[in-house]
């Protein structure tokens, strides 16, 4: 399992780059992950999604799937794909310091 440096901190991630310890996440870490993933700058719209994902994961005990994000965050699918290109559910979760969403099972 790799250890990566984000925003000056050593952070442990899975093979696919998801944080292993949620306590190691900060907004600066999020920005560093986002920049590395080519999602930059992080606008208010990005943060709406990131904050929604974190709050929802806390409530539900698992990170939200893409459909759930679009239904409940107020940000529609097309916009999600624009903000977080390719796999928005996975990318938003990774930036938000959450585990890989398992609705992809």
């Amino acid at each position: 399992m790799p250890t990566v440096e984000y925003a000056g901190r050593a952070v442990r991630t899975s093979d696919e780059g998801f944080l292993l310890d949620p306590a190691e996440w900060t907004r600066e870490v999020a920005e560093a992950i986002a920049k590395e993933a080519g999602v930059w700058p992080l606008t208010d719209a990005h943060w709406t999604v990131i904050d929604f994902c974190r709050a929802d994961a806390r409530r539900e005990g698992q990170p939200p799937g893409l459909r759930r994000i679009s239904t409940n965050s107020g940000v529609d699918m097309k916009t999600l794909y624009r903000l977080f290109p390719k796999g928005p559910g996975r990318l938003a979760a990774r930036i938000a310091g959450l585990p890989k969403p398992q609705s992809c099972v």
Partner: protein
């Protein structure tokens, strides 16, 4: 008289009903609600488009033990606060314990363009018997061109089925001497062909070997049926001559309406006890749950064993045991008389080894073998004669680690 009501008599509902019929005491009335007079063997649908057996249904009465009351009606609403189920005909059924085995349904109407004049022509879906039969006719007369299989959104029932379809299609056209006229494409919203990275690593060669192109992170937003293209949310397009789409899946509408389900109608369920999170008189299992496990028959089977115990405990006023581990196994038909078998659970990815017994097997895990193909075919008989009636099958409920080892590349 107390009432235990099971909604849905698919694989999960039927198995649970037959198990509980043997366990609950005479002061319990066991009722199953399902409007379909036939029980459909869903795994058989994969083979129908390629000339496989059409006898994939059996009269439901033959699948349920004596002593079970089967109500052949649809469910209109659930009233958890009043512990009542209201049927389509207006009748109300009270319950003391409820089991949601209401499954997942395909909703092709959720994707603009997927339902229309081309459905059954150049646009198909093999997740229903009707759809599979129409596709059989289309494949028989397919002159050549690009055949695209597109999984519109996750989750879907049987996540490997779209790939199995393509492996069988490769076989089908090869045997007819038509393979060089057919281009096979798999489009998926996932970032790889298989959901489990261990499978993608170990099995990616299969797609290459069979000449199947892969379009990943493709989330279909609409189908242009006239122009024969499927479009994604991020503006990509895939042209097709024949489209086999796996539509959006949702839970039953009444689960969504009851407050027991999430935004897609899947019941919010405790992963260990299988109790519904919102109501401790309601259990859920199989495709109906929101659990991050595959929507597959094997999962329903392993869950049914746990749920049987927990319903019996609940009937006696005891608390449920957190015994479910998300165990799943899956035969993946890879064509040319071979199949792969994978075995995994919530915390452990598919590993090499043998199944069900270490070393002796007889089925090798995570590699192609003819033996596994026969296993898959024998499964049909096992399903009707052992799994559905709830007869004991000598496979341990929790995934066993005995004799298992990591694929070499994962150790890096």
């Amino acid at each position: 008289m107390k009432n235990a009501v099971i909604i849905g008599a698919g694989t999960a509902g039927t198995t649970v009903a037959n198990r509980l019929a043997r366990r609950l005491r005479r002061d319990w009335m066991l009722t199953v609600v399902d409007p379909a007079p036939q029980h459909l063997y869903q795994p058989g649908l994969l083979f129908v488009p390629f000339g496989g057996r059409l006898d994939v249904e059996r009269p439901r009465g033959r699948t349920l033990r004596g002593g079970i009351r089967w109500i052949c009606e649809s469910v209109d609403r659930l009233h958890p606060e009043a512990r009542r189920v209201v049927l389509g005909n207006g009748d109300a059924i009270p319950y003391d314990l409820l089991v949601l085995a209401s499954g997942a349904r395909t909703c092709p109407g959720e994707t603009p363009g997927l339902v229309g004049t081309e459905t059954g022509g150049t646009v198909h879906d093999f997740y229903t018997l009707e759809g599979a039969r129409a596709l059989r006719r289309a494949l028989e007369s397919f002159p050549g061109g690009r055949l695209v299989v597109d999984a519109v959104e996750m989750p879907i029932k049987c996540p490997v089925a779209p790939l199995e379809f393509l492996f069988l299609a490769d076989d089908f056209f090869t045997r007819r001497g038509a393979r060089d006229r057919v281009e096979l494409v798999y489009a998926t919203p996932l970032d790889a062909a298989f959901t489990k990275p261990a499978c993608s690593r170990a099995l990616a060669f299969l797609l290459e070997e069979k000449g199947i192109s892969l379009e990943t992170e493709f989330s279909a937003s609409e189908v242009d049926a006239g122009g024969k293209k499927v479009r994604s949310y991020d503006g990509r397009e895939i042209a097709y001559d024949l489209l086999v789409a796996v539509p959006v899946h949702r839970g039953a509408a009444y689960v969504e309406a009851s407050g027991l389900g999430n935004e897609m109608g899947f019941a919010r369920t405790d992963p260990r006890t299988l109790l519904c999170k919102a109501d401790d008189h309601v259990f859920a299992l199989g495709d109906a749950t929101d659990l991050p496990v595959s929507k597959a028959g094997s999962v329903a089977h392993f869950q049914a064993e746990v749920l049987e115990e927990n319903v019996v405990r609940a009937a006696a006023g005891k608390s449920p045991l957190p015994a479910s581990d998300g165990h799943a196994n899956c035969f993946i038909e890879s064509g040319r008389g071979k199949a792969l078998l994978i075995d995994f659970n919530d915390t452990t990815e598919p590993l090499f080894g043998t199944f069900p017994l270490p070393l002796v097997g007889p089925f090798p895990l995570l590699k192609e073998a003819r033996r596994n193909h026969w296993g898959k075919l024998a499964f049909r008989s096992l399903y009707w004669n052992f799994l559905l009636p709830g007869r004991p099958i000598p496979i341990p409920n929790r995934m066993s680690m005995a004799g298992k080892r990591q694929p070499a590349s994962a150790a890096a």
